[in-house]
């Protein structure tokens, strides 16, 4: 009873007018005392609904109980039984739609859910900082070679699980850095690279070999891998193809995809110490309302934009971004222009964008996505000044791998089609993450990688 009367912990954050000028992580984490207190709120439900909300089914009451007892390393161990990247997921999972949405506090009691994500992060960070990170136990080597394409969360989770099962795993990564979107997309102020690097070090300790600068389908083909003795392949190549709107002026200088913008900055170090340039001006408009759009707009603000604007064709309620992201963006001074849709970009004599024409919208009937659809208000057109536009309206699956493998069946959206065990139409090829789901989430990608590992293990044993 008294457990239920406590109110949910608030995580400390850097002050908005300080953090919007640098790249430091915004969320500061919980202190041990805060974590122990928050853990006390958990009712240790006999049939815990929270676990159903977690795509990888972390034993939430168990790990929370251990935190309450002060057994933090034990808590971390429990989380790691099912999640390969807890320090990452606890930072980027949309908890309010997953585990925390299913917590009994939110479901039945009309109260704020137990801060599961914060507690998970606490346990993971505590373990990492303790210097006592447990290297998971590996089965003795079985000498069987398997490969993963892509080092995003799907590929890394797959590699980790296969290594634990005793396989020799090689991960092939097209870029010069390991981590996929975690590195090139999600910015430092939300997910520091040092955290990802620790997880990657852990993988290497498990014996996983990672080959960067190697594009499967180009540098090396599926057939080459087979010839080199790889018995099966996991494709976690992501949804890397940016979409554009095909409106006039979209190829003007200063108009770019969020992938380009974030890659130049996060992966290539533009405007820090890298040789790669980036355009990021005073009036920056981001088109879209997802996580990527929020990351881009908050980055633009940090790079000195006077006006960093979210331009979104529906209303704020329909935005797919996490609530926390929207809140943080607003605190940092980001301007929101919901119910606006760009119809044209206008350039100066050198071809650099200087203005954009926006069609005002209103909400109509719900569409296929279940959200109210945006409808144009006839004649309501506005022109605003912009010097940088970042198009962040989604990505499509990268066709590079699918098109390089004969007999691999893909859907009409270009995603690889798989069965429940993440096995594709080619029995030795498994796939997961964004290349199977289109743009999804880190935890789903990771879950796919793990499921594929289990199924591949079964498959190889049966051969």
């Amino acid at each position: 009873k008294e457990r239920a009367d406590k109110s949910r912990v608030h995580m400390r954050e850097l002050p908005a007018d300080y953090r919007n000028k640098n790249n430091e992580e915004v969320n500061c984490g919980l202190t041990k005392e805060e974590a122990l207190n928050e853990a006390k709120r958990c009712l240790d439900c006999p049939a815990p609904s929270c676990t159903n909300g977690c795509p990888v089914g972390i034993d939430i009451p168990q790990f929370v109980k251990n935190i309450e007892r002060g057994e933090i390393l034990e808590a971390a161990k429990i989380i790691k039984q099912t999640s390969a990247l807890p320090a990452v997921c606890s930072r980027v999972c949309p908890q309010e739609k997953q585990c925390e949405a299913e917590c009994i506090y939110a479901q039945k009691m009309g109260k704020e859910a137990v801060a599961i994500g914060y507690l998970e992060r606490f346990a993971a960070d505590y373990e990492r900082e303790s210097g006592q990170m447990a290297v998971p136990e590996c089965a003795p080597s079985n000498g069987i070679k398997v490969a993963a394409v892509g080092s995003g969360p799907a590929g890394l989770a797959f590699a980790s699980d296969m290594a634990k099962r005793g396989y020799s795993v090689t991960v092939f990564e097209a870029l010069h850095e390991i981590g996929g979107v975690l590195k090139y997309g999600i910015p430092e102020f939300r997910l520091p690279n040092s955290i990802i690097d620790v997880e990657i070090e852990m993988l290497k300790k498990l014996g996983v070999e990672i080959v960067t600068n190697c594009i499967v389908g180009k540098t090396i083909t599926f057939e080459d891998l087979q010839a080199q003795g790889y018995k099966a392949l996991f494709v976690g190549s992501g949804a890397g193809l940016p979409r554009f709107m095909n409106i006039p002026g979209e190829n003007l200088i200063g108009v770019m995809s969020s992938n380009e913008y974030l890659t130049r900055i996060n992966l290539m170090g533009a405007l820090r110490d890298g040789d790669t340039p980036v355009l990021s001006g005073k009036n920056v408009a981001i088109i879209g309302g997802g996580n990527t759009a929020m990351d881009a707009v908050r980055t633009a603000k940090r790079l000195g934009a006077e006006h960093a604007m979210i331009v979104y064709r529906r209303s704020e309620a329909e935005m797919p971004a996490r609530i926390e992201e929207i809140k943080h963006a607003k605190e940092e001074g980001v301007e929101f222009m919901p119910l606006h849709n760009p119809i044209e970009y206008i350039g100066d004599e050198k071809g650099r964008v200087k203005q954009m024409r926006l069609q005002k919208m209103e909400l109509g009937e719900p569409d296929a996505s279940g959200r109210r659809s945006p409808v144009e208000i006839p004649g309501a057109i506005e022109t605003i000044d912009v010097d940088t536009v970042i198009v962040s309206i989604g990505v499509s699956p990268n066709p590079l791998v699918p098109s390089s493998i004969k007999d691999l069946s893909v859907s009409k959206w270009g995603t690889i089609t798989v069965n429940d065990g993440m096995q594709s139409s080619v029995p030795t090829i498994f796939a997961g993450g964004d290349i199977v789901r289109g743009g999804a989430t880190v935890i789903l990608a990771m879950g796919d990688g793990r499921r594929a590992a289990a199924a591949m293990d079964e498959y190889l044993k049966s051969c």
């Binding site: 097209a174 010069h176 770019m256 290539m268 110490d273």
Partner: protein, 276 residues
Amino acid sequence: MNKILKKEHFSPNVLHFEVEAPQIAKTRKAGHFVLVKVGEKGERIPLTIAASDPVKGSISLVVQRVGVSSAKLCDLNEGDYITDLVGPLGKATHIENYGTVVCAGGGVGVAPLLPIVEAMKKAGNRVITVLAARSKDLVILEEQMRANSDEVIVMTDDGSYGKQGLVTAGIEEVLLREKVDMCVTVGPAIMMKFVALLTKKYNVPTMASLNTIMVDGTGMCGACRITVGGKIKFVCVDGPEFDAHEVDFDEMQMRLNSYKEIETEAMKHYIETAAI
């Protein structure tokens, strides 16, 4: 990390590198390129694979020193390592026996043209190569081109070597003289634009190999996008070769200047710090 096996000058600002890259040497075809990054903080820049030696496990790059990133590469020496090198990227050139093919290259476009000339010759074409440069000392790869062409026409802006005039004058001379079935052009956007206008007049199908700004080279960022026949294409995965008569070269030229000011500043800074 890829080791530089050999370095030589083709002209003061055009260098030839032989780089260790066994896997790429095996699979690359004419038209393919690599992305190269020098130093941890380096920029990823695309360079055409000019030749390869699968036995030795090496590829050749011909690099023109134009800005910071190409300069950093040109300043490396034999025995040094290129931090990151990935490829082969892009679609291979469509090679077949067309009959008579004119291959026209200008500036550093001559390097990417060489593997195409070789492949066209090997496929049984009569190959006429037109090389254009500002002056005699900027003419590169002439010998290698001669070895793979039925005829080589050299054009210089100042008439210091070959004939005086632009690349288009050289091509037109051939077009007026005999039936040409195919034209391939690689060079600065403005040059390719005028080649395309000329061959359009003579109704000769023309392929242009485009050199847009790139970042990842795998279709992930869209930096390399251009308009071909009214549609957006990504040069790194859909190209680099396109029907020259459909390419919007003015837009491409404009986009190539995206970072002009920043690049000029950066180069100034690089030269100053190198001088110290």
